[in-house]
């Protein structure tokens, strides 16, 4: 019985478990340190292409961007962006809703408007 118990736990194991706990928490510690020292830049921005002209805005700041005498309104709110108002016939750009992930975009063909979130793109999936 004692032998079986020894197969499951011995005093030296504590060191191993402590080491595994340390390695497991390492990413959290490193991320925390990098965030404190300000070495992590995870801020996203949006690129708006209207009628061939490029505009760049930060996604951190809430604002409304107006084009075509306020007939097109792009809204940035809570680190998300959407086309709030548009005078296009089908309103597909408005129906697209909020976008916030890098690589996502909204296109309004009648108004020649493209809104795209820019940042480090995440992976959809990883295979091997």
């Amino acid at each position: 019985m004692k032998k079986i118990a020894k197969s499951f736990f011995r005093k030296g194991d504590l060191l191993i478990y402590f080491f595994i706990f340390f390695v497991t928490s390492l990413p959290f510690i490193l991320t925390g340190v990098l965030k404190i020292t300000g070495n992590i830049h995870e801020s996203l921005s949006i690129e708006i292409n209207y009628n061939g002209t490029h505009y760049l805005y930060s996604l951190e700041e809430d604002r409304e961007i107006r084009f075509k005498n306020d007939r097109i309104i792009v809204e940035i709110k809570d680190k998300k962006v959407r086309v709030k108002e548009s005078d296009c016939p089908d309103k597909l750009c408005m129906k697209r809703g909020w976008i916030d992930k890098p690589g996502q975009f909204i296109i309004c063909m009648p108004n020649k408007l493209i809104v795209k979130v820019i940042g480090k793109e995440e992976y959809d999936s990883i295979t091997y």
Partner: protein
């Protein structure tokens, strides 16, 4: 019934038949595991390490390293993945296992099978993850999944050790000296 050396006697490199036996056994176990479907990259029980765990505290350093290496090569040949990406990943995992064993070798007898198994699984997966993120994906952000990978290592390592302990209890007699022909 399998007969292994007594706990007092340490297996030496000269006992080639044990090295061959356990390498082949580990290779066959690994091969069986390699053909089983895996839900994620790092999720496998690691039954290939059962023969290694059985003998880890009854064998000297070089023979165990040999068993790990031969096991990896045998698995690669059996599964036909020796020079493929999976094969390379397997070699990296084995390298991680060797590193872990090298660290714990001086006090391996003071550790339980459960902690040894978990440590080997953790090192194997960490090495594979680092290799995968640096050479394949080329993005160290993937290391953020390290806690998740370690959690899997702990679970699979525990299961492997449990199977090993059960095998030890029920199927193995440690009476190396009584075998005819042995010194």
């Amino acid at each position: 019934m399998i007969v292994l050396p007594t706990e007092k006697k340490i297996l030496r490199f000269e006992d080639k038949r044990y090295i061959l036996f356990f390498s082949t056994l580990a290779g066959i176990f690994s091969f069986i595991e390699s053909i089983l479907p895996k839900p994620f990259l790092f999720v496998k029980i690691g039954i290939g390490y059962i023969p290694i765990l059985l003998i880890i505290d009854k064998i000297s350093y070089i023979p165990l390293i040999s068993i790990i290496l031969v096991k990896t090569i045998i698995t690669g040949i059996f599964a036909g993945t020796l020079f493929s990406f999976t094969g390379v990943l397997s070699i990296i995992g084995s390298f991680g296992c060797i590193v872990a064993y090298s660290i714990i070798f001086p006090f391996v007898k003071k550790l339980s099978k459960v902690s040894i198994s978990i440590l080997l699984a953790t090192f194997t997966n960490i090495f594979q993850l680092i290799f995968y993120s640096y050479f394949i994906v080329k993005d160290f952000n993937l290391l953020k999944i390290l806690p998740f990978v370690n959690l899997i290592s702990i679970i699979t390592g525990f299961i492997t050790s449990l199977i090993t302990i059960k095998i030890e209890e029920n199927f193995i007699i440690f009476e190396f000296d009584k075998i005819k022909g042995n010194k």
